[in-house]
Symmetry: C2
Subunit: 174 residues, 2 copies
């Protein structure tokens, strides 16, 4: 799908197509539809990131709280979004040993207790070893520093989701 | 459920419980969790409304675009959220005659074409006659005026959803 096609979408199709670029936050995609036309995919991505940055800190925390735990309950019960399932699978989080699952659960709980939001990381850019290492490291951050770091990860996830949706689709349509 | 119980909820339970007070915008509920403890239900509602009001105009339009059409495709195909299904049903929109369905579809299309977001009204405070009349009237509004009007309806819907969830649950638990 090229940018002209995207710019011509109704808000309903735009949201149906790109509504989960930020996990469970279709309001963000729906809001940036107001900013079309976009010169290119990077401009659409920039509009999404500007919207996120303009939110109050509570709103950024709200975005984080819409994310599932890594290797958590939603993965076990099959209730992840399509995008999250693929991402966690690609990082190997759907094939952990029992001891790894319980270690991840313990660290996720500790993180959520400390920060009030879940540990968010771009799983596609990591594997289970680097995810565990960063979870341990980031547990030592201050709250504001960690919130900003987690929001950066949201943007990385969005970057890859957007490209996967738009570019894969373009290839399929050739 | 009383306010002390609500204030003691983890963000996960809070969002699971109240995440659809604003249709398909769990980010809003998730954001206001940062503002707890709430003195009472009205204070929680006020926090939600303050969050909405602090959004840029595109963000308010984003909220509106997360709402389904009244008597539209989602109602026909059974893909409304639980809350929307009950609200549209109570207003009689699930029992329209074919001519009424097509009239509503035509007016919804005209409205979306004009404003770039769907017609939002608190269905529980209306019936099919008043909904149709207001749809016709509001089609004559200017865009900014109509956006503000629609956001007011979002707040009315949220007010009733919040009370239904919290107070009904309180009765069930007696």
């Amino acid at each position: 799908m090229d940018i002209r096609t995207i710019n011509a979408l109704s808000y309903e199709d735009f949201v149906a197509y790109l509504g989960n670029v930020v996990e469970k936050c279709p309001i963000i995609t729906a809001a940036v539809w107001s900013r079309r036309p976009f010169a290119n995919l990077a401009a659409l991505e920039a509009a999404i990131n500007e919207f996120i940055e303009a939110l109050p800190e509570s709103g950024k925390e709200g975005i984080l709280r819409c994310h599932p735990d890594l290797a958590g309950r939603d993965l076990q019960s099959g209730t992840l979004t399509t995008e999250s399932r693929e991402e966690q699978g690609q990082a190997g989080l759907d094939a952990l040993e029992a001891t790894e699952v319980s270690r991840m659960a313990r660290l996720n709980s500790e993180y959520k207790e400390r920060f009030g939001f879940p540990f968010v990381i771009c799983a596609r850019m990591n594997n289970k070893a680097t995810i565990l290492r960063q979870l341990l490291e980031r547990l030592g951050n201050e709250r504001a520093e960690e919130r900003a770091r987690a929001v950066d990860e949201v943007k990385k996830i969005g970057h890859l989701r957007l490209r996967a949706l738009v570019l894969t689709d373009a290839v399929n349509k050739l």
